[in-house]
């Protein structure tokens, strides 16, 4: 069974790009538009093996999402990748503190995305 990756971003183009890239690599992709949506979909039927989330989002931002995911026993230890920009060093630290596994600096190329996914997803 192919692994399920959730991409959380309020930008449809980023979701499209992430989804398109990962599906081409044989992963299943679940898309969520913000933290709230992500939490809801995490409780769906398919267990998710990796979350890739943006940090800046309406309703619930990435940091809040990571905190909420980490208190869920089911997802306490899954890898979470955050999308950051280089100007957001403090946000990156906050993300780490909240429990993010790694990060990708935007803008990124598809190969970088795949590289990081392979790195954290066993």
């Amino acid at each position: 069974m192919s692994k399920v990756i959730m991409t959380v971003d309020d930008s449809i183009s980023v979701r499209q790009m992430v989804g398109f890239t990962l599906r081409r690599e044989g992963y299943d992709v679940v898309e969520a538009v913000d933290g709230m949506d992500a939490l809801k979909k995490l409780n769906g039927e398919n267990p998710v093996q990796l979350i890739i989330t943006d940090l800046n989002m309406p309703n619930m931002d990435g940091i809040e999402l990571i905190k909420n995911v980490r208190v869920n026993p089911k997802y306490k230890f899954i890898p979470i990748i955050m999308l950051t920009t280089e100007s957001q060093e403090d946000r990156k630290q906050a993300g780490r503190a909240a429990g993010a596994t790694g990060w990708i600096v935007k803008p990124f190329k598809t190969e970088q995305l795949i590289g990081v996914v392979r790195k954290v997803l066993k």
Binding site: S13, T85, S87, P107
Partner: protein, 683 residues
């Protein structure tokens, strides 16, 4: 890349939506400058335009919106207040981005003016536009084999960030030869342990061609939450003396030189001594020893490579050796059995030692007989070249997996059948260039010859992109030869198998190269005698694929020894998946249909007792050995599963040639004979 075009379109749409949002939000903010939520929304919109823009190649937009974002960030943090000037500028910026999006490039001046104005508002915001330059720091160091010592001491909270250290080790393993020693000295007692925390740390010795930065990159996500030291301990060209354990300890700053010298004076084995004196714990010594060993191994290998030598040995000597090892394995089984029955401790420890040594001897002997199949591939290249020229066809032979190793005997006996199959492909498979062009194919035909490992087997594939097998012609011929009746309704697959019937040939004219069919029965016989299998796939007009599945070796296999009544049988372990119990109750529940529900999957089973007509009383509790037969799971019911067995295969002799369900026999430790089941034939 059509998909990228699609994504670009989506970006444009999205950006347009965001621009509208910016416009609305700015007007809201103008009315209520304290509306923090609106300001956040504004920031996010610009942020998205920038981030996505850079990703999809809208660099101008990205660069421009970066300036706007910087300004808005200040507003968001309360460092800059909302003024009419600012609102005007944001609106102007919005229009400018809109223009860029539509592709109006004449207004670059305008862009500069806006940026300048924004910078006037935020004097110190002349920031480093570093982000747009994605620097792939090129490393042009010479690739040299280097051995690194990596000391990885993660924080206890490692798991809480979703980091799996095993993934890190797996990644390291892809870089080169890797030895990992876990250090357990920080693990608390079971009572005090928090299973969600990581108390382990690791010493890793890695020999790799990669630069140190690549190794650091492996740990990039954890470098803030661990202690990480990476040191070079050996480099290609280094030929200094192998380091002693004490020297390594000093190198690693575990100890000072004086401490070592003091201990050395006691003249005991240093490692033991240090542990005894509780200066260094056992794991550290273990890690150090691994390091010492690896560096030595790397250097030894380097030395060896410069003077590798081989000996030529007559093949029959090797054959005799294999026979002798076979006898030895049988004798050893008797020894183990004997020692088991007598319960003499001294004897059984010797028997176990023997067992281990003989297993090693067996593996070694077998590996001597292995040859890369590529040695025969060379002949075929020539064959293809010559024959295709003779027939006026253009054919290319592509080979894959030439390094795949097979038992020498198997390779030798496969040479003729392979030659035959390739001839067939050249003569009948691949069409003439004219016909190929007509069919819309490249005028040069391709034959793929591929070998690959699959479990205890090697699969050799011969694939051509020719005309494929003609099912109707095969059927007609089979009717003519009396192999099938005229109105027989058979599948394509069954039809393909007809070509292996003796004397079968569909070629209208028998050419000098081959007559397809003549000899296919010989091919099949050879493969059968090697306990292999052949499968034919063909698509009309697209080509034919022959898949030959051959066992790695002929002499000794790993088997599972089972008992039915008083008789013993061996099931080749390569096809065994698992063993489950069969109680009378389960058997009853299937109402005699001989079907088992295995974790929700339906698995049919065969009673060996019935199949072999064994009448002795059956036990209350029987066992089912689940096997994989051609990708399907099938169970075999036996009385008892005895255990693993190194099976030396003996042929049954001509008298039992017709026995289809058995592939041979073996002699057990107590001297009795066990029959080897051919699960493919039984199922």
């Amino acid at each position: 890349m059509n998909d990228l075009k699609e994504v670009e379109k989506i970006y444009r749409q999205e950006a347009e939506e965001r621009l509208t949002e910016i416009e609305e939000t700015v007007l809201e903010i103008e009315e209520n400058p304290e509306d923090q939520e609106a300001i956040n929304r504004l920031f996010r919109a610009v942020h998205t335009i920038k981030g996505s823009g850079a990703m999809f190649g809208f660099n101008e937009i990205a660069e421009f919106s970066h300036h706007l974002e910087t300004t808005l960030d200040k507003v968001r943090n309360g460092e800059l207040s909302v003024t009419k000037d600012l609102i005007d500028l944001i609106l102007k910026s919005r229009d400018y981005i809109n223009a860029l999006l539509k592709g109006d490039r004449q207004e670059v001046e305008e862009g500069h003016r806006i940026i300048a104005a924004l910078e006037r508002l935020v004097p110190e915001a002349k920031d480093e536009v570093r982000w747009s330059a994605q620097s792939d720091s090129d490393r042009c160091e010479d690739a040299k084999e280097t051995t690194y010592r990596i000391r990885f001491r993660p924080d206890h909270t490692l798991f809480l960030n979703g980091t799996d250290p095993i993934a890190l080790f797996d990644e390291l393993r892809t870089l080169g030869e890797c030895y990992i020693t876990p250090l357990i000295k920080d693990v608390p007692l079971l009572n005090d342990i928090d299973p969600e925390h990581c108390f382990l740390s690791w010493d890793i010795i890695l020999t790799s061609m990669t630069a140190i930065n690549t190794i650091k990159d492996v740990f990039i996500f954890v470098e803030d939450s661990c202690e990480l030291e990476i040191d070079v301990i050996d480099r290609e060209g280094d030929l200094e003396e192998n380091k002693r354990i004490g020297e390594i300890l000093v190198d690693r700053k575990e100890l000072s030189g004086e401490e070592i010298n003091k201990e050395l004076k006691k003249q005991k084995k240093l490692g033991e001594l240090l542990v005894e004196s509780e200066i260094v714990d056992k794991e550290t010594i273990g890690a150090v020893l691994t390091e010492q060993k690896q560096v030595k191994a790397v250097r030894d290998k380097r030395l060896q490579e410069s003077n590798t030598s081989t000996i030529r040995v007559a093949a029959d000597k090797l054959d005799t050796l294999v026979d002798l090892v076979g006898e030895l394995v049988t004798t050893q089984a008797r020894l183990s059995q004997f020692s088991l029955n007598h319960g003499n401790q001294g004897l059984s420890s010797i028997a176990e030692e023997m067992e281990r040594l003989i297993a090693e001897l067996r593996d070694n002997t077998m590996s001597m007989r292995m040859m890369p199949i590529g040695t025969t591939f060379g002949n075929f290249k020539r064959l293809v070249r010559d024959l295709s020229a003779e027939l006026g066809k253009e054919i290319e032979l592509v080979t894959e997996g030439a390094e795949t190793e097979l038992d020498k005997t198997v390779i030798e006996r496969m040479a003729d059948p392979l030659m035959h199959l390739i001839r067939n492909s050249i003569d009948h498979g691949i069409e003439s260039p004219e016909k190929r062009l007509e069919a819309g194919k490249a005028c040069k035909g391709t034959i793929l010859l591929k070998a690959q490992y699959k479990g205890a087997y090697v699969v050799i594939t011969i694939e051509d992109d020719g005309g494929g097998l003609k099912v109707e012609a095969i059927k007609a011929k089979a009717v003519q030869k009396g192999l099938i009746s005229k109105d027989a309704d058979i599948s394509d697959k069954e039809a393909f198998n007809l070509i292996f019937a003796p004397g079968f040939s569909t070629a209208e004219t028998v050419s000098s190269v081959s007559g397809r069919g003549v000899g296919m029965d010989v091919v099949k016989k050879t493969i059968d005698s090697l306990r292999g299998a052949i499968e034919v796939k063909s698509a009309r007009g697209r080509g034919t694929t022959m898949m030959l599945k051959l066992p790695l070796t002929l002499a000794i296999i790993s088997g599972l020894l089972v008992r039915v009544g008083t008789g013993h049988f061996v099931i080749p372990l390569a096809s065994v998946e698992e063993c489950v119990e069969l109680t009378g109750e389960i058997a009853e529940r299937s109402h005699g249909s001989n079907i088992l529900n295995l974790r929700g999957e339906i698995v049919p089973y065969i009673r060996l007792r019935d199949r072999f007509g064994i009448t002795e009383d059956k036990p209350d509790l029987e066992h089912i050995v689940i096997t994989d037969v051609h990708g399907r799971r099938i169970g075999f019911v036996v009385d008892n599963v005895v255990g693993g067995n190194q099976t030396v295969i003996k042929s049954l002799g001509p008298a039992f040639k017709h026995m289809k369900n058995l592939s041979g026999a073996t002699i057990l430790g107590d001297g009795t004979v066990a029959l080897i089941l051919d699960v493919n034939a039984l199922a």
